[in-house]
Point group: none
Chain length 200, copies 4
DNA sequence: TATGAATGAGCATTCATTCAT
DNA sequence: AATGAATGAATGCTCATTCAT
């Protein structure tokens, strides 16, 4: 390899490690996962891993960054739509499907716990949330202009409420074994409609 | 050997340890907190601590149990009220006040992370949530009977949505430094009203 | 033990560790000695060792401190004597005897190497040397007043020369296997006499 | 594959590595310097470095060898002179100038520490010292024959004393921040004169 | 009841060295 | 001749837990 440096190797190895680490974190939690476990899962030596990540902390930060990337599509959707209520309902439906797998909540909680204490992870997280909130507020503004939503509402507050709802739903399966997120689709749709729609 | 065993000593010591541990967990996280740190914070020897808690795990389980106890008052309120909408709004207002302090979210996330992996903690948690959900469903049923809420709604779904919203709001300050929970009071009130009230 | 804290335990354990560590450093060098080796040599667990020394660095600093303590007797002798030339000759004779064992030089070099890079060790060392030099200068001054030594000499320079000579002699056996320090006694005596004594 | 193998390349690369390694050792010490640091400092890959030096140990041995080469000029001078006292004084003056830079002492201590434990380095060192001592003894003998020095002295002992003094002076600045080697020139000259010259 | 010294497995990380290219 | 990715044993240090007193 050396002679001809493979430009994609770096990215490939990072992904390999990140995916292994993500599986480990979901399975056992971040602090309970040792670097050796991640190495084993990534089928890589510990020395090798450190070529791609400077520290354990850097791995959780990268996982947080990964989660962030997933928001890009949502943001894009929010900013393009002409029918915000419908779009939000669609986003929610997709999310509820994702949340049915406890993996998502487990990972999210670990990353959140880390973010609440580790400035490097917090930075990624905060950027993430700020971006998402901004997109949501922008979308709400446009929808308000178009008469799609109740003009009496504080948009920032609505956005925060919606984001909180999503966060809360993501961990519901961890907490309540009886909860089947996909059965909440209808109620969620109703909630979004009633919250936003101008009252008759 | 003391002449009379103080029957309250046991409970007093447990509280002393639990409060110290809670401070530690809020400050540094559960897995980053060592037993020695908890001992130091509780001004107690490590040998001594183990008389009151069998393991580190037992401490986080007890912290979860503590959180559960806080729900008792809420459950009581839910089951007594004649005006559910108003009561829920009141509960929310109180919670938003609590959530303004990041401590609450930090602790909650740690406990939740642990619950999602540790069966003993999960049991406490699950019991907690089940109880709360049951109380909420009962209250919703009664309110529906009384014509206070929209008869078209699935009560279990509404309950889960409300609980998710609370959970989500509790961690909002960790994730979004710009979020001031108490400013969400009005929006929350609107949301509750619109969600539950029979549409005009 | 806990109930009745043994006030000497701390010091005893520190000595036990320090002596073990000193043997290890002489045998293999500071950086080639692992903490586990020191633990094994001290017949103590690694966790136990860290109760008495915060770090590996703290051990080498304590070894340096130990060396320093050995100077106390010399300083005392220098400050009491009425016949400096004779006293210096006596000190030299004792030192040459010590230097015959390569252990002394080996240990000294390790400590010196560490001192030249590690501020904590350097501080101990510098204090040590300053003290010794000051005592030597004081003794020289007094001897000069008493007419015991050549009034034309710069006392500080003489002191530094003598200290350099001692340092150099301490490592001679490491470098020159044929060197038998005790055979240098006469030459050293001559050197001291000629250097200090007023020329006839 | 190059048409013509550069016969000097090998030597050039060795020098490049050796100089880089020497800088690293002065800066951080031998055992604290990693091979990767040396590679970086030498602007060379780790694989490449191993073409020129078999191991880390081989590098410190080569550094020791380098120091040895520096003695050649001194030996030459000692063996040619007709006025040993003056020559020794001249040598000392030059050395004191060199010793003013702590680099010299730092490097020397590292090499010495290694020599005291590693047979390969010890061999270089011992050869070095033996050679120097032999030259000094030869010079002393000749000077004695010429009546330049006191006939009562054991020449080997004088030689060892002088070498010890030089060694000791080389590390003085590491140990005593107040020491300015060049200010010791006069005292050193006096010492040499008195030690060697026949007493009046 | 309480102490705190002791344990030793476990952790994140480093590093001399190798080798396919 | 040179590269740099890979290895994996080893390192300094931590920590939940135990137990003699």
């Amino acid at each position: 390899m050396p002679r001809t440096v493979d430009p994609q190797l770096n990215e490939r190895r990072r992904r390999q490690i990140l995916e292994a680490a993500t599986r480990c974190v979901i399975r056992r939690g971040f602090h309970q996962t040792s670097m050796q476990e991640i190495c084993a899962e990534a089928e890589m030596s510990s020395g090798g891993l450190y070529r791609y990540f400077d520290s354990k902390e850097a791995i959780i930060a990268a996982i947080a960054e990964d989660e962030r990337a997933e928001n890009a599509a949502i943001i894009h959707e929010l900013l393009r739509t002409d029918n915000l209520v419908k779009t939000l309902q669609g986003i929610m439906r997709k999310m509820l499907k994702v949340f049915a797998n406890t993996d998502y909540g487990r990972l999210g909680v670990e990353v959140l716990a880390e973010a609440s204490r580790n400035p490097k992870v917090a930075a990624v997280f905060s950027h993430n949330e700020t971006e998402l909130k901004a997109a949501l507020v922008t979308a709400l503004k446009k929808a308000k202009r178009d008469g799609q939503i109740d003009p009496g509402l504080t948009l920032r507050a609505i956005a925060e409420l919606l984001l909180a709802l999503i966060d809360g739903l993501s961990t519901r399966t961890l907490v309540d074994p009886g909860c089947k997120p996909q059965q909440l689709d209808k109620a969620t749709r109703v909630m979004i409609t009633r919250l936003l729609r101008p009252s008759a």
